[in-house]
Amino acid sequence: MNIRTQVGALAFTAMAAGAGLTACDRITDPLLDVDTPDIVTLDKAASAAGAQSLFIAAQGDFARFIGGDRAGSSPLGLNLIGGLLADELISTRSGTEHVDNRSVLPATFPSNSWTQVGVSYARILRAIKAIETFPPATGGKDQLALLHALEGMLLTVTAETYCNGIPLWDGESDTDPQTKTLSTAELYTAAIAQFDLAIGGTTVANTISMATIGKARAVMNQATPTTRATSFASAATLVAGIPTSYRFNVVFGTSTSGLGNAIYDWANATKNFSAVDKEGGNGLDYISSADPRVKVDPTKVSAGQDGTRTAQLNQYTSLDAPVTVASGIESRLIAAESQLANGDATWIVTLNNARATIGLAPLTPAATPAGQVDQLFRERGFWMYLTAHRLGDMRRLVRQYGRDAETVYPTGSYFKGGAYGTDVVLPPAQEEMNNPNWTGCTDKKA
């Protein structure tokens, strides 16, 4: 090859390189184009159909918030995690369960329960915004009312479970989210506002009943030792018209990966958690009482995951077993507590009428006022076993009835060794420390 050809080849190479550099985008764009079929970009959700999808997801996430998810790294519902901290369940999984023995560490398993609080709340708010912006042809108001009711119930159960001063999304920006910190009192106030929106925004009886019971529940929680009587009376008035047979359930599925009844999955099936009798000396006699409202079979005893032998828990018997969030029975219990707080002796009649619906023998009132309060809360504990009510009740016993926490919560020697701690509420998970707008719980009192 002669020198001219060589120089020509070099010049060509240099020009080709230069052309390649300048023509980069035209070359690189198709080379870097990839498919991402598993995700949906944000623009696709900005429509009426998208709003309906967000509405569906908000309902599912609320169910997950209350009743948890399938085994694995999915969150445990507040009915399970609350039951662990209270006296409804013990941990029979390997290792020490810090929630169960009331010595919660910031990074304790399962932090995903707190994650679900934030996720569920944010998804309800997004669904509300989406339906307000892209309403369906019909039924939009009913959907909004349901969402408001779910939001109210979420705020109430969160306030019952977590410490004073927790962060929640302020509902403004999706891409740069910020939070506001809400005290327990503010959570109940916000919950009541949501319940009112729900009650006034629909004619669907199911939603109205659930919101009404939720509002009464929040009102009950707002009471102080001195306002107990009047607050409870207000609550009782609210729920007076709810039929005893009424139930509002959250539902689960079997075909969706990641949405199943967590208590069934973790306690009935794998025995990571188990029913317990008189936990820590103060717990209720869930097993030995043989009460039909708590479905535990003491004749079927087997080892939990850690080898601890416990009775079979049958409260939820399948992955799609629903969890009752609000019920007519709860309404009767609210009424009975109001009657007791206001000196009305018919409180025991109200309890016995409820018991009669399932053939339970009537109760005789305890001899002392404290004993009567114990009777009432025992009834609440058995009627609403593993429905995310018991922890809130224990806190009210301490906060509203002046009981010492160590006479209400499990205490003393822990069955895996060592002793119970002194926690009475749950804190948000460790990951929340990355929130610049939140500096920790204001307090962790009952």
């Binding site: 080379l31 870097l32 949906v40 967000l54 999984r93 990966s257 822990y414 929130n435």
Partner: protein, 1042 residues
């Protein structure tokens, strides 16, 4: 035009003039032809100076050109197209000293040049592979570790590529996988850099990227399986390891953790040479497993003192607290009991045939290999009998032997000229792999947990926690993998000084992962891994994945002799890489009798997953060499990747290195004992890309049950990711410096290297405050990690006498790792492995304590333990020190050879999950049951059990240092004259070998200091829970060449 493009264009244009021919070539200004067009042929033979035998595989090249050849089986070579005139041949081969030879080439003529090479341990003149092609080791300023795979596999019991690399090179740590046949290890080169991304190096096979991803959809509980396991080490010629960004810059994004470059065997000119081998082996799990204990007693009412009648477990601490009264002790060892022992020796056999040869028209290499291995897991005879009675027929063979591997691999490579100045290499490989693994991991119903947490007495399941061993082994896990890998490499030298290369390849793997148990089989008590009682304890999970990766590279290299002493090589190129993974996952629970597929399941679920990623980059490199002893190289690569944020453009990875063989200078003092000194230094950057969708904000579609429409499951959308438009690759910058010494007539070679590797803009999955309700994490570039250390490599020929030879290799390193910065993120503080600024990644942390037996009763209770005020750092989980020491002894002129390999790791810690399981959870270890147990152990167990002591595991964590006898092999070669006369062959050799033979020393009290379930591409930490120890193997192998 962006500045980086201007810079690259300038670099190309600067490099271009160096490619212009030097003026003196033009002999006659009026002639239309120049001297460069006059060419001739050089033939010759390269022989060993000592034996006068021809040497195969010698690289013979013409200095200042790109023409060259490799010797054939007889040592002969032919180089065509050599420019006429006075030329210099450069002759190099591993194990021999670099030699040059002058030759005069006539136009159109042929000249013969025979060269003899002197053996040397010197590695300086070995050829290693880099991103720009093959170069001599002396030319590059960074250290490249090499393993001659062909030699190693013949005499060592190597079953996969990870074992090939283990303990043979400094700075390369191979973290053992689980003790299961077919499991994979993890490779760490110069420490751990990434918090959230993979820390595995890039693997390149024959110029094409080879996926070492974890097996997608892996359903083998507790077993780590990486795709590198499917590459047969018998097919590998050699492995070069580029340890850091100072050398890996031209591999761009994905090379920050180093690059492992694998070249498979190729054909050579000469008659067909056959090599066959047959091997028989045995695998075993010989470790001592602990017995389980239970201290029995009766509960005591602490108030009244009344003793209850029922027998209960009464641990030492409980008895000391007066809660119960001990009256007896029981013990059982499920690992050795006839009812439950899960292990038995596993036989294996393998065989293979390879043929290579060639003519000038084509060179070929063909290989066929078949492995059949049975792991050391076996259902005990008692369980076989029990299940036979229960089921009415014996358990299936794959249940009796739940760990089996069948592997067939075929490879063919062909090289042929397509023109006088062009050749084409085609290499194809196919692997068919069928792996079965036992049900284990951290599943409660898995083997390890069931036996480690079992009570210390013979219960209804004969001494396990809840499951019969036969039922555990009846849960079947299987991986069926078919993998095809092909590469094409075309080289064209249109002009003697310009070499053009086009490389392309495809890596296609189809896998079928499954985990299943049929009705009436498998674990039953509790939801073991999926199906429950309502589903008849039967079900099947299947993950079918197709992985498709493409690599294509174009490269041009111009070589010119600028002056009589100055040479230039300019290389420029572009590369495109695309990966795709397409998965279908199905789950079916509730199978009817006889049903074995998803179709027959009562409940079915299906999901799909697609991940695609593309990288496009181009690079340029300029190397100047002076007098073949001083080399200076600068280079840059720029990449675009589909995973980068929209506002991120190209990323540029610069590099520079210097290599100076200073001992060849006249001014360098001469000593009889000092043969060679080379100084080297290098700098470079490489990257690691984020996950495919990490930069995107997106919603995720899922179905949810409706609260308003009973029984309906409806499609919903949830915000899953905030995305990050600014997301860019994490960049690792490395400085490296070192010296290579040849001593005592090159009988001892020493390489000393220091390095500092800093990773900035580390991709980190920042935990989002859950209250944001926007997914758990957001991927950001925020962290900085530094790895710094020293590496030492010694290769020595200690004794070189006729009856006896002794060679040694020592490689060692010290690597310190530190998380330097994490921005404003608050990191989680879990018990055990956590990341803390100023400390090594994934270090062990917890709350220290002190203790004292206040009442001198020999029992520690919680009140006798005092907790410190804050958590402290216990130690790193990645070894700070590692070393390998191998000896090769030759007897009777190499007729008998003995090789040993010793492996050391030091200064690191293990979470000792087995200790927690036994002493804290199950309470079956002697510490908490047997009076007289050490107070220190008791304090550790009590502290970990007590909520008031924060369940601290400070005392549970254990130092993990060890020295292991990794391999021994004894090989006997039949003298060639007998092989030829009686066997009509060329070579015959019998090898006896063993691997993972013994732990010579360790501080670790657990089963095996290498057992680590945390080994994975992504995670860090060191915990032996649910992980069987390394398998010991013995093999006898016959190699035959003809």
């Amino acid at each position: 035009m962006p500045s980086f493009k201007r810079g690259l264009l300038a670099l190309v244009l600067i490099g271009t003039p160096t490619m212009l021919p030097a003026a003196p070539f033009a002999r006659d200004a009026s002639s239309r032809r120049t001297a460069a067009t006059f060419t001739g042929t050089v033939r010759g033979r390269v022989v060993d100076r000592a034996t006068n035998q021809g040497i195969v595989g010698v690289q013979v090249s013409v200095v200042g050109t790109t023409v060259g050849a490799q010797t054939d089986n007889s040592g002969a070579f032919v180089i065509r197209g050599v420019p006429a005139g006075a030329q210099t041949l450069r002759v190099s081969r591993l194990g021999y000293r670099l030699t040059t030879a002058p030759v005069s080439v006539a136009d159109g003529g042929e000249v013969t040049a025979n060269v003899s090479l002197e053996p040397a341990v010197a590695r300086l003149d070995e050829v290693v592979t880099t991103a720009t092609g093959s170069v001599s080791r002396r030319e590059i300023g960074n250290v490249v570790a090499s393993v001659n795979a062909d030699s190693v596999t013949k005499v060592s019991p190597i079953t996969n590529v990870n074992e090939l690399l283990q303990a043979r090179t400094s700075g390369v740590q191979v973290l053992q996988g689980q003790g299961v046949i077919g499991s994979s290890s993890s490779i760490r080169i110069r420490g751990v850099s990434s918090l959230s991304l993979s820390n595995e190096p890039l693997i390149v096979v024959d110029g094409v990227r080879f996926s070492n991803d974890p097996e997608p959809g892996n359903l083998s509980a507790g077993v780590r399986i990486n795709r590198l396991s499917s590459l047969n080490p018998e097919e590998i010629a050699n492995v070069d390891i580029i340890k850091g960004p100072s050398a890996a810059a031209l591999y761009g994004t994905a090379a920050a953790n180093g690059v492992v470059i694998i070249k498979t065997k190729r054909g050579r000119m000469g008659g067909a040479r056959w090599n066959a081998f047959g091997e028989l082996g045995l695998s075993q799990l010989p470790n001592k497993y602990p017995a389980n204990f239970r201290s029995w007693g009766r509960n005591r009412n602490v108030t009244t003192g009344v003793i209850a009648p029922a027998a209960v477990q009464c641990r030492l601490a409980a008895s000391a607290a007066g809660q119960c009264v001990i009256d007896s002790l029981s013990s059982i060892n499920p690992w050795t009991s006839e009812f439950t022992r899960p292990f038995a020796n596993g036989p294996s056999n393998s065989g293979g045939v390879q043929v290579s040869g060639g003519t000038e028209a084509v060179k070929y290499f063909v290989s066929v290999n078949r492995d059949n291995e049975v792991g050391p897991y076996k259902m005990p005879a008692f369980e076989i009998d029990r299940l036979t009675t229960l089921r009415g027929q014996a358990p299936r063979q794959e249940q009796i032997r739940p760990n089996q591997l069948r592997n067939t691999s075929v490879r063919g490579s062909f090289s042929f000229p397509i023109a006088s100045t062009a050749n084409l290499d085609i290499s194809t490989g196919y692997t068919d792999r069928d792996l079965r693994t036992p049900f284990d991991g951290t599943f409660f119903a898995g083997l390890s947990t069931q036996l480690f947490t079992a009570p210390g007495f013979k219960n209804a399941t004969n001494g396990t926690a809840r499951e019969f061993v036969g039922d555990i082994y009846s849960v079947q896990q299987r991986l069926q993998l078919q993998r095809a890998f092909g590469s094409v490499n075309a080289n064209w030298t249109p002009i003697p000084w310009l070499a053009l290369t086009a490389e392309g390849g495809i890596d296609n793997a189809n896998s079928n992962n499954s985990q299943y148990q049929f009705p009436g089989e498998g674990t039953r008590v509790g939801l073991a891994w999926g199906p429950d009682a309502s589903q008849n304890f039967s079900g099947i999970d299947i993950a079918r994945t197709n992985s498709l990766n493409y690599t294509s590279t174009l490269r041009a290299a111009g070589t010119r002799q600028l002056t009589s002493t100055l040479n230039s090589v300019t290389t420029t190129g572009a590369q495109w890489f695309r990966s795709g993974q397409y998965q279908l996952f199905g789950e079916g629970y509730g199978l009817g009798v006889g049903a074995t597929t998803l179709t027959a399941a009562q409940q079915r679920l299906a999901t799909t997953n697609t991940v695609e990623n593309s990288t496009f980059g181009y690079f340029v490199q300029e190397q100047l060499s002076w007098r073949d002893r001083l080399y200076a190289t600068v280079s840059a690569r720029t990449d675009l990747n589909s995973a980068f944020g929209r506002s991120v453009g190209n990323t540029v990875y610069p590099a520079a290195n210097l290599s100076y063989v200073i001992s060849e200078e006249g001014f360098f003092p001469k000593y009889a004992w000092l043969d060679r000194v080379r100084l080297r230094t290098s700098y470079g950057q490489a990257g690691l890309q984020p996950g495919a969708t990490a930069a995107l904000a997106f919603l995720q579609p899922l179905t949810y049950p409706s609260l308003t429409t009973s029984g309906a499951e409806l499609p919903g959308l949830t915000l899953q990711s905030l995305g990050n438009q600014e997301l860019k690759p994490e960049i690792t910058t490395e400085f490296e410096g070192g010296v290579d010494l040849g001593l005592f007539k090159n009988r001892l070679n020493v390489e000393i290297t220091g390095f500092n590797k800093a990773s900035r803009d580390q991709i980190f999955n920042r935990p989002l405050p859950p209250s944001f309700g926007a997914g758990n994490t957001q991927t950001v570039n925020i962290a900085k990690v530094v790895n710094a250390g020293v590496e030492l490599q010694l290769d020595g020929s200690i004794v070189e006498s006729s009856p006896f030879t002794w060679g040694v290799r020592f490689n060692g390193s010290r690597i310190k790792n530190k998380l330097v910065d994490i921005g404003t993120v608050t990191l989680a503080t879990p018990q055990g492995a956590r990341n803390v600024v100023g400390y090594p990644l994934f270090g062990l942390w917890d709350r220290p304590y002190t203790f004292a037996d206040a009442n001198a009763d020999g029992i520690i209770v919680a009140s006798e333990i005092t907790l410190a005020a804050a958590d402290s750092f216990r130690g790193p989980t990645l070894p700070e020190y590692e070393a390998g020491f191998s000896n090769t002894f030759g007897f009777f002129r190499g007729l008998i050879n003995v090789n040993t390999l010793i492996d050391y790791r030091g200064k690191y810690w293990n979470s000792y999950g087995i200790g927690v399981s036994r002493c804290v959870t199950a309470g079956n270890c002697p510490t908490v049951n047997v009076p007289g147990s050490s107070l220190e152990s008791q304090a550790a167990a009590v502290a970990a059990s007590s909520g008031t002591l924060r369940n601290t595991r400070w005392g549970i964590f254990q130092p993990n240092d060890f020295i292991k006898l990794r391999e021994i092999s004894v090989s006997a070669n039949v003298p060639e004259r007998y092989v030829g006369r009686y066997l009509r062959g060329r070579t015959a050799q019998i090898v006896f070998s063993g691997r993972n033979l013994a732990t010579l020393w360790t501080k670790y009290p657990g089963i095996d200091p290498e057992a680590n379930r945390s080994v994975s591409n992504l995670a860090g930490g060191n915990d032996d829970l649910g992980t069987p120890p390394a398998i010991r193997t013995f093999n006898v192998r016959l190699n035959f060449g003809f």
